[in-house]
Subunit: 200 residues, 2 copies
């Protein structure tokens, strides 16, 4: 019976392997790093973990993660309240914000429709989206779910519900990514990029 | 100025990027995972981090990480006290223990000699190793530092100090790894494997 890590180290490794993409080797490396780090750094990390659980809520309007309600975006008077961009998760919202090219509001679904994994319309923030569209102020809803099978299906499903309300529904363009190399791009993307070509 | 993550999330991401091999994207993914995880899991992780800092010490004999002093290996009466295996870090000790093929004691140097990075003999647990060899009980010291430039140099350096004490000094074999493919193995390893060939 070979000697393993001391108990507190094994326990930390075990907790770290619960994180996504962290196997036993990585967890072991992280644990030894934490052991060697300063007491302050270890405490700061532990505190940040607890604080995030304590302070972060979902915005009651857009359902983004926030420490104030409504969130900073929903509160911002400079944002265009006539356009709502629908994303599946907070990561996608952050990615779009980083691009700096959208000045409307967001709506976070917290998932996509996936019958195989048992995710139906009731499991997403869809009713909440429809309530937001009631006032008649929103002129356009942009579907910015991922260009995956589930993302496309979710966009399609929502557009069928929203269009009857007299609101314009659009989908982000699918095409060749900037800097991409045509020879390595899959056929579905290439065919989409031809289909959605724009005049020069 | 695009909207970023809420403050507690940014802070957690910032703390997570201090971990080795964790960039901003990974940290962001980990932070969102922690946000979605149960309160219990988040607390268990935070607690494990604090506990490891609080309870883990270096063994006063072999300098391995331990929650009891002397450590379990140094205390174990079944281990052969005549052979000491010198490793550069606790990770290497665990790897050797997992192989289950060493039943002696260890000595953890906590690094290797590296003049370029300013690591000299005083920065490693070398004097502590020499004290352990004073009693005259140790018959063999196995150098199990990595087969890298620094690891080899450290093994050489230590053997020059220890041999005059009348103690046998050996080095772990360098050769082709089991399951390896000769055509992909570097020349230095191949030449070592020829040099250190053994009779069949």
């Amino acid at each position: 019976m070979p000697v393993q890590h001391a108990q507190p180290i094994s326990r930390l490794i075990q907790e770290l392997t619960k994180l996504p993409g962290v196997g036993e080797k990585t967890a072991s490396r992280l644990a030894l790093h934490i052991l060697r780090a300063s007491q302050e750094d270890a405490e700061a990390l532990a505190r940040a973990i607890l604080e995030v659980k304590e302070k972060i809520r979902l915005c009651s309007q857009c359902f983004n993660l926030t420490d104030q309600d409504p969130c900073r975006i929903c509160q911002d008077p400079r944002r265009n309240r006539e356009v709502i961009c629908v994303v599946s998760g907070p990561e996608d919202l952050i990615a779009l914000e980083k691009s700096g090219s959208f000045r409307g509001l967001y709506h976070v679904l917290h998932g996509v429709l996936s019958p195989l994994e048992g995710v139906g319309p009731k499991d997403l923030k869809i009713n909440e989206l429809l309530s937001r569209l009631q006032g008649g102020k929103v002129k356009e809803v942009i579907m910015a779910t991922n260009p995956s099978v589930e993302g496309e299906a979710t966009a399609q499903y929502l557009s069928q519900i929203i269009k009857p309300l007299g609101i314009r529904v659009t989908r982000i363009a699918r095409g060749v990514p900037m800097g991409g190399d045509l020879q390595y791009i899959d056929e579905v993307t290439l065919s989409k990029s031809l289909e959605n070509r724009s005049p020069l």
